[in-house]
């Protein structure tokens, strides 16, 4: 498994895509839809990494190695999840900067710990839809990507609307004062747990789908 992860880093993921995490700097824009900052990873890194792997016949290469098919899937899901975690870690830095420099907050959800928790949930949901659909073929990315992005956008949109229209939701998710941030810790923890759970489920479903594919 470690060898397959090494293969992902050495052959599949161009180091440039680590830099897409810097799109988290968009969190510093005042009064904006902060979930969009997390979507650049899905707009740029995911499609490029997957189409590059396809163009380089990565699957053809991987099946020549003494590995299980499910481990090929596990390595890819793990490496993409690692990039998502990197994206969230960089986002956390910009959230901290945002809290320090713009105490007034945002019209929509603030850049705060609940935002990070929700972001992790959205990535988890994207993974849950994208990976199992993609691994039905192991090479067609268009529809899985569109479905994943749509789910991300709709659920992200619903969270934003609820934050603006339902005071009870706003109380839990909004605000960037020190006391609000402390009260959001459980939301972040839930986000981390959901991201881990959904991504694990995505891997299990994707591996099952890929097992059935004739290469």
């Amino acid at each position: 498994m470690n060898n397959l992860l090494y293969k992902e880093l050495r052959l599949v993921i161009h180091p440039f895509y680590y830099l897409t995490s810097l799109f988290a700097a968009l969190i510093l824009i005042p009064y904006w839809v902060y979930f969009v900052a997390l979507m650049y990873f899905l707009f740029i890194a995911i499609p490029n990494i997957f189409t590059n792997a396809k163009a380089q016949n990565d699957t053809g290469f991987s099946v020549l190695l003494p590995v299980k098919k499910s481990d090929v899937v596990k390595a890819r899901v793990t490496s993409m999840a690692a990039l998502e975690i990197l994206q969230m870690a960089v986002a956390a830095i910009f959230v901290a900067i945002s809290v320090a420099i713009s105490p007034k907050g945002n019209v929509l959800i603030d850049a705060n710990l609940a935002y990070l928790g929700c972001g992790l949930l959205l990535y988890g949901l994207f993974n849950l839809f994208f990976f199992p659909m993609y691994y039905k073929t192991g090479h067609k990315i268009g529809i899985p990507l569109m479905v994943g992005l749509t789910v991300f956008t709709i659920i992200g949109g619903i969270i934003e609307v609820l934050v603006v229209t339902v005071p009870a939701v706003a109380k839990v998710l909004d605000g960037n004062t020190p006391s609000a941030l402390v009260s959001q810790i459980p939301v972040l923890a839930a986000g981390i747990a959901l991201f881990a759970g959904l991504t694990w489920l995505a891997y299990r479903m994707a591996a099952k789908n890929f097992e059935a594919v004739d290469l």
Partner: protein, 284 residues
């Protein structure tokens, strides 16, 4: 000891069926796997390696059931489907650095030896190599982890005659110690005449013959005669071709009758393939 055994392998596709494919290979021999394009050679190899899901049948390699010991078996076999057709713009050195980590018995000295012998420069990228060189690199990867069994899909196609001959010599060297074996598919039958001990012949998903090359060649005869002689012989012939001076056809040696008064020759593997293909209606 049987190093490879395939029993009753079946795979159904809407347009094609692999029907009850069975054959086996002993340690220390080279088996040629022949058949025309689309006969099922690659599908058989892929089904054996679990890349294509077989509907039924069993495959064992190195004395172990493939389905149960896939990873262990893959550590000790080498297989390739054509040349290197992946990571065309990545340096060979980088590709090797990734591949070597996967094998417990990877031997860098073997790798260096064959890279030197094939005049392969690992600073190059696959896209800079000729198709023959790509096949050689692919073979180096298979050899460097001390594989006991090589399964090669068309390793000689695309190579010039000199490179093919070198490769066949290498195959002979590989099995010399009597412990290693090679199964390689090809449609270049002259390669097999040079180096194969056994021949397995597949046509339209069916194994037609699987035996030693000499037995196979002895089992058939090429016969020539006049047009008048053709009609009574037709039922015994596998297939025949008519021409201005009469006919030529393929017949099982056992079916020959001295009273036929035909011109009899030993066929080549190519003759056997061509007449069987004609029988199957493949070259109509």
């Amino acid at each position: 000891m049987e190093i490879l055994s395939v029993k009753n392998l079946k795979k159904h596709y809407p347009q094609f069926d692999l029907k009850d494919v069975s054959f086996s290979l002993e340690q220390g021999y080279i088996m040629g796997f022949i058949g025309s394009n689309g006969a099922g050679k690659t599908t058989t190899l892929k089904s054996m390696l679990g890349m294509v899901h077989k509907d039924s049948g069993t495959v064992s390699m190195l004395g172990m059931d493939f389905a149960q010991h896939e990873l262990e078996i893959k550590q000790h076999i080498g297989f390739m489907f054509g040349g290197v057709d992946y990571y065309a713009k990545t340096k060979i050195r980088t590709i090797t650095d990734v591949v070597r980590r996967f094998y417990h018995e990877w031997d860098d000295s073997i790798y260096q030896k064959y890279m030197k012998r094939f005049a392969l420069d690992d600073n190059k990228r696959p896209s800079e190599l000729s198709s023959g060189m790509r096949i050689k690199y692919s073979l180096v990867l298979a050899l460097s982890h001390r594989a006991k069994l090589l399964l090669l899909d068309e390793p000689t196609s695309g190579l010039d005659p000199v490179a093919r001959d070198n490769l066949l010599e290498l195959f002979q060297e590989f099995i010399e110690d009597g412990e290693r074996s090679i199964l390689f598919s090809t449609h270049i039958t002259s390669d097999l005449e040079k180096c194969a001990d056994y021949i397995t012949y597949i046509e339209r998903g069916c194994i037609i013959e699987s035996r030693t090359k000499d037995d196979l060649l002895q089992a058939y005869r090429l016969v020539k005669g006049t047009s008048e002689q053709l009609a009574p012989l037709q039922a015994r012939l596998i297939a025949s071709k008519s021409h201005a001076y009469g006919f030529s056809g393929l017949i099982k040696t056992a079916e020959l009758d001295p009273g036929d008064r035909l011109e009899i020759e030993e066929p080549t593997l190519e003759d056997i393939m061509i007449y069987y293909a004609k029988k199957e209606g493949l070259n109509e």
